[in-house]
């Protein structure tokens, strides 16, 4: 019976293992967590950063597995950049631990950075250097790039122009090429497509997906929900320094969130719709827009008591779902 059984990562213990007693069940749990840990390229455990009494990040936890594109989302000031700076060892956590590529982010920062490509959320470059000088500087530290010519061509970048003459998009391209230059094992990108036109955004997505396909782990923060939906396999949502959700894109899509827009023929009582899981997102004397999480039936029953001019029920978009987290 055992010979036909295959253990896969992510499997949890279940009734089927009771046939041979609890010893077998424990073995499976150990195996499962070991495989998970083996696949973890980036792990953030109980990370906190305080500036005096001001909280920037407070006890966040998440892990990113090999080859995964992890989207890090949150409103401005939520703690995204602080988390990234801690990962890059630019700033030191007040508490908690970050490990990347099996190494400790502070003690082994040099070894980690040797395999990491980083793009800042606000790309700053040496104004008096050309793009070529930037590449030469990085190559003098990291070694010769095998893909530089291709990157320059794909991003339509002129490396002979001095950085001070580059547009904001040109500077972003330079930052991206510098991050991708050495085909890193780990990519940490803060708002990678800021200031890029849609064509170049697609080039960035292609590169990211191609890197991920070849085993690179990508951690990226973004405000662009469309790009998150397009390239990320999983997202973490941070708000006020705390992770409020960590789910796969599919899980998010599968959330039963409805948007109901009802126009009434006459007056309605708002209190009728103040139900559990229901939120009034727009209101006028004759209409209501409701966002419903979970069961839609109680709202439909209430609507049944009114004469309606119009009714529209739709599934929430991914953006609506994110907004529910942001506004929570």
């Amino acid at each position: 019976m055992l010979s036909r059984f295959r253990v896969k990562p992510g499997m949890t213990s279940g009734g089927v293992f009771r046939i041979h007693g609890s010893t077998f069940k424990l073995t499976l749990l150990k195996f499962d967590s070991k495989i998970k840990k083996m696949n973890e390229v980036l792990s953030v455990q109980n990370l906190g950063k305080y500036y005096g009494k001001t909280k920037a990040v407070d006890g966040i936890n998440f892990a990113v597995e090999k080859g995964e594109v992890f989207g890090f989302l949150g409103p401005n000031g939520a703690g995204k950049t602080t988390t990234i700076r801690c990962m890059m060892d630019f700033i030191r956590p007040s508490f908690g631990k970050i490990s990347a590529l099996g190494l400790e982010s502070h003690l082994d920062s040099v070894q980690i950075k040797a395999k990491t490509g980083y793009l800042s959320g606000d790309v700053r470059i040496y104004e008096n250097w050309t793009g070529h000088e930037h590449f030469k500087f990085i190559e003098s530290i990291r070694g010769k790039s095998k893909i530089l010519t291709k990157l320059i061509k794909d991003f339509d970048f002129d490396p002979k122009v001095k950085a001070k003459k580059l547009s904001s998009g040109g500077k972003q391209k330079l930052g991206i090429i510098m991050a991708f230059l050495n085909e890193p094992e780990l990519l940490i990108l803060d708002e990678p497509t800021t200031a890029l036109d849609p064509l170049l955004q697609n080039t960035v997505y292609d590169y990211i997906l191609n890197f991920a396909h070849n085993g690179t782990t990508v951690f990226m923060s973004s405000h662009n929900l469309h790009e998150v939906q397009k390239i990320c396999s999983r997202v973490g949502i941070i708000k006020q320094g705390e992770i409020i959700a960590e789910e796969s894109i599919e899980e998010l899509r599968g959330k039963k969130i409805y948007v109901v827009e009802a126009t009434f023929d006459g007056k309605m009582k708002r209190s009728d719709f103040e139900l559990d899981g229901t939120e009034v997102s727009k209101e006028s004397p004759e209409s209501l827009t409701l966002r419903i999480k979970g069961d839609i039936n109680p709202v439909i029953s209430k609507l049944h008591n009114y004469k309606l001019k119009d009714l529209e029920v739709s599934h929430a978009t991914l953006e609506d779902i994110f907004m529910t987290y942001y506004e929570r």
């Binding site: 630019f90 040099v110 950075k113 700053r124 040496y126 530290i141 990291r142």
Partner: protein, 269 residues
């Protein structure tokens, strides 16, 4: 570390050349007019003998006759006691301020920090890049006096220039290291330079005050400018051993402290 040193020098090559040229231009201004100055030197010595001794001391003139009757005495009074240290201080502050605090202010430090280099290597790479600039300036702006004097047929004694070069290097490196310390924990070039500049101005004032009143005489030991005795080095071939200790210890302490603080600090750009 070498890429950082090389980039630091390349970035500053125009500034380095400008400082070196200015050092040589000053010598070209002073040395050719020395013969005419020398001819009226005796009268000047007589005039200056009437000046209070403390006033002369405050401006680094200890032996009036020596100060005006040899090229080295003339240069130590006119050039190496005030103008030359001032140019050296500007160079040291500008290089140190830009290398850490300036890069953090501009945000370019992220490019360096994201590379596989330890903080200590970054600090010492930047330190050594600036140090080379200080050394280049000191050597060229001092030893250029010899060929310039030869070209304009002015008598000189080469030995003194070696002594002033050693003293100048110790003085320049100590000031540069102090400026690097201030730069290592600041995120704004202006504030870092203001802090180092403030310390140096304080030292200069202390030195002037110590020469004006006998009860303030001991204050001179707090000033780098007391230990930087250009005339003693250039004319008498003397460098006070205490001066060597002060400059060397300042350099060591400020480098170690600067490296420690840079290694420990948060760098949020």
């Amino acid at each position: 570390m070498f890429p950082i040193i090389i980039r630091t020098i390349k970035n500053k090559r125009i500034a380095i050349i400008a400082y070196i040229v200015s050092g040589i231009v000053f010598l070209l201004m002073y040395i050719p007019i020395y013969p005419s100055f020398e001819s009226s030197g005796k009268q000047l010595v007589e005039v200056m003998k009437g000046y209070p001794q403390s006033f002369m001391k405050a401006f680094g003139i200890e032996d009036i006759a020596q100060a005006f009757l040899s090229l080295e005495g003339y240069l130590s009074t006119e050039h190496f006691s005030f103008v030359w240290p001032l140019v050296l201080i500007f160079l040291a502050l500008s290089f140190a301020g830009n290398s850490i605090a300036g890069e953090i202010e501009k945000g370019t430090m992220e490019i360096v920090l994201s590379q596989p280099l330890s903080r200590l290597k970054i600090f010492f790479g930047k330190y050594l890049g600036g140090l080379l600039a200080v050394i280049l300036f000191v050597i060229t702006s001092i030893f250029a006096a010899i060929p310039i004097a030869a070209i304009f047929d002015v008598n000189y004694v080469a030995k003194g220039y070696f002594y002033i070069a050693i003293l100048g290097l110790l003085f320049g490196i100590a000031i540069y290291s102090l400026a690097m310390l201030c730069s290592s924990f600041m995120s704004d070039k202006g504030k870092a330079n203001f802090m180092t500049g403030g310390i140096l101005i304080g030292m200069y004032v202390v030195k002037i005050l110590s020469g004006l009143k006998s009860n303030l005489d001991d204050l001179k030991y707090l000033s780098f400018f007391y230990y930087f005795n250009a005339s003693a080095a250039l004319i008498n071939y003397k460098i006070d051993s205490i001066a060597i200790w002060v400059f060397v210890l300042t350099t060591i302490i400020t480098i170690v402290l600067g490296a420690f603080l840079f290694n420990k600090r948060d760098i949020a750009i």
